[in-house]
Amino acid sequence: MRYREYIRRKYLTIVGHVGTLLLGVALFLLLSLAALIQFPEELPHAPWFVVPALITAVIGAVFRLAGRSAGKMTLSLADGGIIVLLSWTLAMVLSALPFFLSGLLNYRNALFESVSGWTTTGLSVLNVETTPNIFLLWRSLMQFGGGAGLAIVMLSAIVGPHARGLYQAEGRTEQLLPNVKHSANVIIRIYVCYTALGAILYVVGGMSLFDAVNHSLCALSTGGFSTRVASIGYYDSPFVEVTTVVLMFLGATNFATHYVLLHGNHRAFFRNGEVRLAATLAIFFIPVILVAVALPLYSVEKALRVSLFEPVSALTTTGYTTVSYADWSDFGIACLLVLMLIGGGICSTAGGIKQYRVFLLLKSLAWEAKRYISPATAVHEHYIWRGESKFYVDSDHLKESGAYFFLYLCTYAIGVLILLACGYSLRDSLFEFASALGTVGLSVGITAPNAPALMLWTEMAGMFLGRLEFFVIIYSLISAARDIGSSLTSA
Amino acid sequence: MRVIIVGGEELVYFLGRLLISGGHSVSVISKNPEDCSEIVRQIKALVICGDGADPRRLEEAQAMRADAVIAVTPRDADNLAVCQIAKHRFEVPRTVALINDPDNETLFKDLGVTLVFNQTRMISSLIQQELSIEDIVNLLPIKEGKVIATEVRIRETHACAGKTLVEMALPKDTLLSVIIRGDSVIIPRGDTKLLADDTAVLISTPQAQGAALRKLTGE
């Protein structure tokens, strides 16, 4: 009985925090009404946002009240994972309401759009040409929120006693400052500043204000939703493309690295493993794609632009395109595939296996070789540069990265098999699921409103797992199941 | 002079023996009871078993009457505490501390330790000069290593063998002060020649030491 009471109080506290996060989601829903300033004729669509916002706010308030009744309680790091998991799931479901209530999409496609938004993927089942602008802004806002992370947005405003758990549960392993609240604050500030800057550059590049805001929100969050069918390709402007490349790179760079660089510590920046890996990949893949893929297909100028834009879009897991991949060779698709699997920086807005893990595992190969040629009794302490200081890598840390790598590839294989079973070709399946799992959003065109339900659900699962980085989900589910199980048996 | 040595093991024993043979009266504070009984058997000193950074132990070792306190424990922090307490509580006029972390040298000086022995720096400066150490017979740091006396055995193969001091042109901040030839001691002048099997004593700053030694040995 005593234990049951403990579990009850613990979960009430968790629910209370979820409530706080949901209130934030409600606020976000209302934020999309800002589109009405420029498009007052879309006022009839306002209820599709006000009603879900009210529903979300009521749920949030009830949750908060329930949490308050539990009194003060300290939560562990694992409990932070449950909070993150619950609030992301609820946020995604509630965010699908505008699309569903307005009759724009059926419930499955509405959820797909919402999941793709919050996970900053950018795969879409919406026809952007016929969709009212207010819905387009809502998609961009979801990506913006999803890029920073729900918890980060909340943490920067209020600091809970379990802040670190939430921070880490959302896949942030590095802190910028020795306090979570301040770290979250700095992240938000960097993020908002870059977005504003991006929007200004887009306007300079000739976009309308509405398009500029939307594209900036989605480029920096490495989301990739566009207000145009042809994505960035619609503008056919080198200036817009270069701006997008810069924004995508910024979005896929670890916030801790941003912080170091903004503080003028260039040495720490260039010493960083992720920066080195990203630079190496860019230097290798851009010329390769230029020569092997782009030059045979396009004019020289166009080829140069394509071979800069597409690899960066894939590596940063953004998913903006300037061309269709239908006429690309298998080799070109494979190049993009590798980049999508590697993905962006850890503690950034990007997805994928993450450059940090890939770098660490590559580095560990070198360490292994070094160990092999040193005497058996030699002691090794390996380190990498993280932020401004050395981080000593122990075997547990390596093991975790290795396990993540393996789990990622396993999930990838399962997803590809399901897509193959749906009847798609190997090339399409490999590409499309890598895009979903890495929260990229590049598409060979098979993700569509009328695609088989199984495929859409598989992609949704892939996006969700990819964004929340597996372990949080798995550990949280295990710990929740254990809590429920033990509270039943102890009764 | 009355000297208190704080520390353990062999360094205390040899230091104590030297000081006693020089006519000083010595007290020792050491933590390890076994070390204490070993020391008390070997040298004629008051040996206190305990923590040298404890003011009570220092008092028992007659810090009130001491002219100097030497702290040679393996930990820098302990040595600093011993010196500071001796200086401020018992007004011991001279305090000496051994340090491991070279960074601590200025800190200890600022905090009022009279003499800081930086053993790490001495060893590393020797290594960094990249000298063939086998010809250096002896080395003596003077004034906390600001000046170093180096005893060098001259060989036939060395560049300086058969040359006068003027011909050698030793660098700035160095002085060849004494030449020992067989049983005789020579204070060299500009026209004094160095011969094989001489032993030369070079006085120099640590910075100039390497260049001077290279001049002598020709490496």
Binding site: Q175, L177, H182 | P55
Partner: protein, 132 residues
């Protein structure tokens, strides 16, 4: 506000947690990695593994940027050395050192260092309680 806490024992970890909850930037230094197990999920600062009597370790904890340094390891002499280094070498505004020996505490208090002696504090509190 940026606080550096040297020593993550019972006292240090508690201090670190409270400061972190209070919204301060906190860095804790301890030479033993296991010592950080005492920190709960409420602590959101940085941990630095290393011997605080080594100035390089203090620098990696960014001690020169600190507003407050609290030296609370279980070694009096280390606390005193770190505190004095923080004050004289790194120019930290507010420096606190824990010293268990009341006599030693008195000597250093006279030198102008802010010294806290748990025994004295507890004795005063218990004494006040008895006289009540």
């Amino acid at each position: 506000m940026f606080v550096v806490i040297i020593g993550c024992g019972r006292l240090g970890s508690r201090l670190a947690i409270e400061a972190s909850k209070g919204g301060m930037n906190v860095v804790v230094v301890d030479k033993n990695k296991r010592a950080f197990d005492l920190l709960t999920a409420e602590f959101s600062g940085f941990q630095v593994v290393g011997d605080a009597s080594n100035q390089e370790v203090l620098r990696s904890a960014k001690i020169s940027d600190a507003d407050i340094v609290a030296a609370v390891t279980d070694n009096d002499n280390v606390n005193l050395m770190v505190a004095q280094a923080a004050k004289h070498l790194f120019g930290v505004g507010k420096v606190l050192a824990r010293v268990t020996d009341p006599l030693k505490a008195e000597i250093y208090a006279q030198l102008g260092l802010k010294v806290l002696c748990p025994a004295t504090v507890a004795a005063d509190a218990i004494g006040a309680e008895m006289l009540k």
